[in-house]
Symmetry: C2
Subunit: 346 residues, 2 copies
C-alpha cells in the first residue's frame, strides 16, 4: 500500500485524459472499447483507492442529523446520551454537519409522535431514533422514508426493512449473561425475575431478557433453581413487592430487567435476612452507589452513550466518507462490578 495513485496517474499510464478515467470509474459510459480496455488494464495492476479527502472537499453540502430520544429528565437512563451526542459534535465539528437533539416523554406515545412530526418537517438528511413505541415507530418510519429521510435506530430494535442501521444490545443474550452470572454467585434456590414497567406488553425488551434468562437455566437442566417472575408498576409497587417477598422466603437471587434496580433493592434488603444476589441493569448514579456498598452484585451495561455515539458516527461515515451502513451492530454486553464500573461511565 505504498504509492497512492491518483486519477491523473491512471490517465497517464493508460494514455488518456483524466476525464475518460473518471467516466470509467463512475460508469458514465461514452467511452470507446479501446480506452476502456487500457484503463481497466491499468486499474487491474495498481490498487487505486480514491482519496476520500479530495472527494469530499467538493461536496459542500451541510448534512443535518436529528437525534430523537427520551428526555433524560424523565428517566436518567438516557442521561449518558447527552454526553455521547456532545462528544460526537466535538469529534465531527470540522465537517459539514449539524446535529440536532429532540426529546420526548418516554411514557407518552403522543409526545413521541409529536416530536417526530416536528422532525419530519425539519427535513433533515437522517434521523437517529430511539423507537420506544413499537407500533408508533413503524408509522413514523414510513413518513420519514416517504420524505427520503434516512432512518437509523438505537437502543430498541424494530423490525423494518426501511431501517438501514441499528445499534444496541442483543437482549435475549443479555438475559443469558445475567443468568450465567446468577448461577456463578448463587448456588441454589429460588430466583426472581422482576420487571418494573407501566405496560409490560409493550415492553418487548423486558420479555426478551426474561426469555434469555430462562433459556440459560433450561439448557443447564439444573433442578436446583426455581425461576419465578414478578411484574411491578409504579403505583403501589412497594406493597406488592413486600407481599411477594413474604410469599417467597427462600429467595436467593433477584434479576431486575430494567435500570430501576435502585427502586427496590433497599426494600428487598430490609425484608430478607439471608444474603441475596442482585443483578440489574445500567450505571445510573443510584445503582452505582448500591453496587459500591455491596447491595447490588452486578450491573449489566447497555451503554446508551456508546450506542448514540456510534449511531451518529456511522451516519457521518456514510455521508462524509461514503461508507456503507452495516445493518445491525450489537454492542458488547458489559458485566460491571464495583471495581470496573468507572471505565464504562467515563
Amino acid at each position: 500500500m505504498n504509492k497512492k495513485y491518483t486519477i491523473k496517474d491512471i490517465a497517464q499510464l493508460a494514455g488518456v485524459s483524466k476525464g475518460t478515467v473518471d467516466r470509467v470509474l463512475h460508469k458514465r459510459g461514452k467511452v470507446s472499447q479501446k480506452a476502456l480496455d487500457s484503463i481497466n488494464a491499468v486499474l487491474s495492476e495498481i490498487d487505486y483507492e480514491p482519496n476520500l479527502i479530495a472527494r469530499n472537499l467538493k461536496n459542500n453540502k451541510i448534512y443535518t442529523i436529528c437525534v430523537v430520544l427520551p428526555d433524560p429528565a424523565y428517566d436518567s437512563y438516557w442521561l449518558p446520551c447527552i454526553k455521547g451526542i456532545e462528544e460526537a459534535i466535538k469529534e465531527f465539528k470540522a465537517f459539514n454537519l449539524t446535529i440536532e437533539t429532540h426529546y420526548f416523554d418516554p411514557e407518552s406515545s403522543k409526545t413521541f409522535l409529536d416530536v417526530n412530526e416536528i422532525v419530519v418537517d425539519r427535513a433533515p438528511d437522517a434521523v437517529l431514533l430511539a423507537p420506544l413505541f413499537y407500533k408508533e415507530a413503524l408509522g413514523i418510519v414510513e413518513k420519514y422514508i416517504k420524505k427520503e429521510i434516512l432512518v437509523n435506530t438505537f437502543n430498541n430494535q424494530v423490525e423494518s426493512n426501511e431501517i438501514r442501521n441499528f445499534v444496541g444490545q442483543d437482549l435475549h443474550r443479555s438475559g443469558r449473561v445475567a443468568a450465567k452470572l446468577m448461577a456463578s454467585i448463587s448456588q441454589k434456590g429460588q430466583i426472581a425475575i422482576i420487571h418494573i414497567a407501566e405496560k409490560f406488553k409493550n415492553a418487548i425488551h423486558m420479555q426478551e431478557k426474561e426469555k434469555g434468562f430462562r433459556s440459560y437455566f433450561v439448557e443447564k437442566e439444573d433442578s436446583i433453581y426455581e425461576i419465578i417472575s414478578l411484574k411491578l408498576k409504579r403505583t403501589n409497587y412497594e406493597a406488592k413487592l413486600t407481599d411477594f417477598l413474604t410469599e417467597n422466603p427462600k429467595l436467593s437471587g433477584v434479576f431486575i430487567t430494567t435500570s430501576k434496580a435502585y427502586q427496590i433493592v433497599e426494600i428487598i434488603n430490609e425484608a430478607v435476612n439471608d444474603k441475596i444476589s442482585i443483578i440489574g441493569y445500567d450505571l445510573l448514579e443510584k445503582n452505582i452507589t448500591l453496587l459500591n456498598n455491596g447491595k447490588i452484585d452486578f450491573l449489566i451495561n447497555q451503554n446508551p452513550k456508546q450506542q448514540i455515539y456510534l449511531g451518529i458516527s456511522f451516519l457521518v461515515d456514510h455521508f462524509i466518507f461514503g461508507k456503507e451502513l452495516r445493518n445491525t451492530t450489537f454492542l458488547p454486553i458489559d458485566i460491571v462490578n464495583s471495581e470496573n464500573a468507572s471505565y464504562y461511565m467515563e
Copy 2:
C-alpha cells in the same frame, strides 16, 4: 453549529484578504493592529472551525507507521492484534498512509532490540510499540526520539516523558476486578495467585496485578480469605503445581495473572475434588473452550486487538487530522463469562 464559515467568509466580513486572515490564524505576524482587531472581532462572533478535509488535501505526504509487537506464533495472546492492524489498514487505506508490522520473539530481548534497530533505520513517522522489555525499551525510545520518530506504546506501560501516548489497561485495577469477582463467587478459604513466566522480576505487569488483587482483600478486612502466591516457570511447572496443590488442599479459588490459564486448569481440576473458582486473562481459543465447559469461571479481557487499533487510529487522527495525542488511554477491564465472550472476540 449551522453555517460553516471559511477563511474567505472571514476575510469578507473583516474587509481584508484571505491572506491576512491566514496570517492571523497562524500567528505569522506582519499584520497591522487595525486588521488584527477587525479579524479578531469577526472571529469572536462566529465559530470558525477550519475544514479538516481541505486542510489535508494539500498535505500529500505519505505517513509511515511501524507497529512493533511480539510474533503471535510464539504467544497467541497477540493473535488478535493482526486483525486489529488489518482493520486499521482497511479503515484508513483511503488516506496517505503506510502501516508496517514488525515482530520480535517475546522471550528474547535481543530480537526486541534487533527489530527496533531495523525500524529505526526505516525512519518511519511513528512507531507503535509493545515495550515488553522495560530497560531495553527505554534505550530504544531514546534512539527513536533522536531521529525525531514519534513513539507511542500499547499493552505495557513504560514511564517516559518521550512517549506521547499509551493505550492499555490499568493492571493494578485489573487485579482488583479479579479480586472482587473472586469474592463474589468464592465465599471463603484459601485463594492462590499463580504467575506463569520465565522471569518474574521483569514481568512488572504480573506484580501489578497481584498488588491490585491483594489490595482489594486488605481493604475488605475479611479474615475468611487467605491469599497465597505461586510462581511457575515453563520447565517442570506441572510437578511444582501438583506439589503446591497437595500442600494447600483447602484451595477455593485460583487467579492466574497471565493468559496461560489453559496450561494449568486441567491439572488443578484433576488434583482437586471440590469446586474451585478460576479466574484468568484473555480470550485465547483454549481459554474460551475451558470457559464454555465451566472449568474457568471468568476471564478478564485485555483486548489487545482494540489496543493496537486505537493506537493506530490515534496516530492517524494526529497525522491526518492534526488532533492532539492524549497521554494515556486506559481501556475498560472487561469481565467475560461464557455468555458474553463472543462480543469481545468478534
